[in-house]
Symmetry: C2
Subunit: 335 residues, 2 copies
DNA sequence: TTGTAGGCGTTATCAG
DNA sequence: CTGATAACGCCTACAA
């Protein structure tokens, strides 16, 4: 037998509407009765009935998260953080690992208040759903119908290249997954091309750009062989993701190439796990906590605002130094 | 404006209680009106209001899943499968990545119908929660208060050792994480010891057992060095988990040791991903789909039964051959 | 400041 | 077979 406000009312000797008001901290009830009711509620172990609250409020206080491809570390970390953040609010999170369309249908059924979508595919049809949808990914025209939280890959990669340039590196390679189907990966690749062009470091045949063909550590590991086979080996590498870079470390290690003595390595993805790798990796990207916070703040704002501003946000990535890159003699020094 | 059964009632020219019955396929309404109502509901795009249904039914149709440590591939796969399975039922899943105690409190608030718990710690206090809790892990006295789905590590490991023995291997090593804090890992270790004892293969100093000290691929990778340093190197390895074994492959490869020509490798964890590793790995364990199905079936049964049988289940692991083990001359052959 | 009454959308129990 | 009607637990005008 769960205790309801009526039970409390009886014990407190007031009507249950008064209890309701007291519980909701309404200014319409005397401070004294309020504290009394609260005390009794506490004592009786009262828990509000969500279903009833929802029925009347028309809100579910549930945020849906769509994450169709669950098996990658970085996103797993992000999901964890998002869940943590949501749990700090009155909302809760419900996860769907089904395909996007199906997930949205399910969420519609469940009448969630809002949806966070980890965009993995390009073609997301912007149907009319009865809740705001926030996309985490690359902002562009293609899905302009939804607001987007964009971790600003291009700026992050530019920071990485710029950092290496400052350290004196003039031959810089990129090892990442170049996938037409994944805007996030594509963006990083393009950003790298732009960055080295900006610094006049680009090589005509793009031999300093290696496509891993995948996103797991093994893809990065394998790419190292290709990297080492290059006639003019770069002195520094930008790794496209956490998993890939962890593979790169392994690959270089196998060939007894020291990081950072022989080769500097900087990675995209700014997550704490970077520090606990075999070699703590200097990395660029929006710190994952900030990212999670921003995503949660935004979706809740979208949910609670009457006329939400449907604009996208580009975040500001930061560079976290962890000693996997060192200064390099550029040849223009005077000694 | 969402459409309710009352709206349908008006259009159909019947009372809304009839609509309710029709929608629930009650035998108390004529087939003709039933189909008519259903058609209208369909046409008007009716979606039942979960909050209202829950309010009256006292059920939320939500299963909570507690998964405090999200960053491991095998469990991620299992969660995905469980989610898929639950989505085939009228239930939905809500995931919590918070610590066990806090998760349970949250779920209590949300009045979930049941909880699945991936046991990571030994000391789970069996409080009285208003829903059934199903533990995935090792069945033992320590948490006898909850029913447990046990993937039967001991039998799986025995199958692996037995399989290698049949192939002629007499020197078999185990590489896994031996953690007192993780009953699942501990169980596998103990099972291996028991298995080789059974076949009289045990070495006194246990030098054929290597503790990776961790569960990620890198832990397995590092353990290979230790393995190779052993004076009497085994001819076959039992890997403790998917991640660990993927590291072992890598480590052996680095030393130009061929699988299975030089060394046979069999792994715990029977997931499809085993087949897509660099070297498709023969593995033992309950197939992950079966596991997911069993878990979901069981929790739903617990939820829906009036007097649920609180007993634990040990599943039957299977061995899936994928050509990472070969026959070995035992020395007792006659040629 | 407090209590009364109506309603949120459904299901279930009775009469008709 | 069908239709009132009363819950379910809570919120919120409106009355007192």
């Amino acid at each position: 037998m769960t205790v309801t406000i009526k039970d409390i009312a009886k014990v407190a000797g007031v009507s249950y509407s008064t209890v309701s008001k007291a519980l909701n901290d309404s200014p319409l009830v005397k401070e004294k009765t309020k504290t009394k009711v609260l005390a009794i509620a506490q004592e009786m172990g009262y828990e509000p009935n969500f279903a009833a609250q929802r029925l009347v409020s028309k809100k579910t206080k549930i945020i849906g998260l769509i994450w169709p491809t669950i098996e990658r570390v970085v996103l797993a970390v992000l999901v964890t953080k998002i869940s943590n953040e949501i749990n700090k609010t009155p909302y809760s999170m419900i996860l769907s690992v089904e395909p996007v369309d199906k997930s949205l249908e399910t969420f519609k059924k469940y009448q969630v208040d809002g949806v966070i979508l980890f965009e993995e595919d390009v073609g997301i049809q912007a149907r009319n759903y009865p809740f705001p949808v926030l996309v985490y990914g690359v902002s562009s025209k293609s899905h302009s119908s939804y607001p987007v939280i964009d971790p600003n890959h291009e700026q992050a990669i530019l920071q990485a290249v710029s950092y290496l340039y400052e350290l004196g590196h003039r031959n810089i390679a990129y090892i990442g997954y170049i996938s037409k189907a994944d805007p996030r990966q594509l963006k990083k690749y393009e950003a790298f091309r732009d960055a080295i062009k900006k610094f006049n470091l680009d090589v005509p045949d793009e031999s300093n750009i290696i496509n891993t063909g995948g996103l797991d550590w093994h893809a990065g590991y394998s790419a190292v062989h290709e990297f080492l086979a290059s006639p003019n080996r770069a002195t520094a590498i930008v790794g496209g993701s956490y998993d890939i870079s962890s593979g790169i470390i392994r690959g270089l290690k196998q060939h007894h190439i020291d990081i950072p003595k022989d080769i500097s390595l900087i990675s995209y993805d700014n997550i704490p796990q970077m520090a606990t790798l075999e070699i703590p990796l200097t990395s660029v990207g929006v710190p994952i906590e900030d990212l999670a916070k921003k995503i949660v703040d935004t979706i809740i704002k979208l949910v609670e605002d009457e006329n939400p501003v449907q604009h996208s946000t580009k975040l500001t990535p930061v560079l976290s130094e962890r000693n996997s890159c060192i200064k390099r003699n550029t040849g223009t020094d005077f000694n």
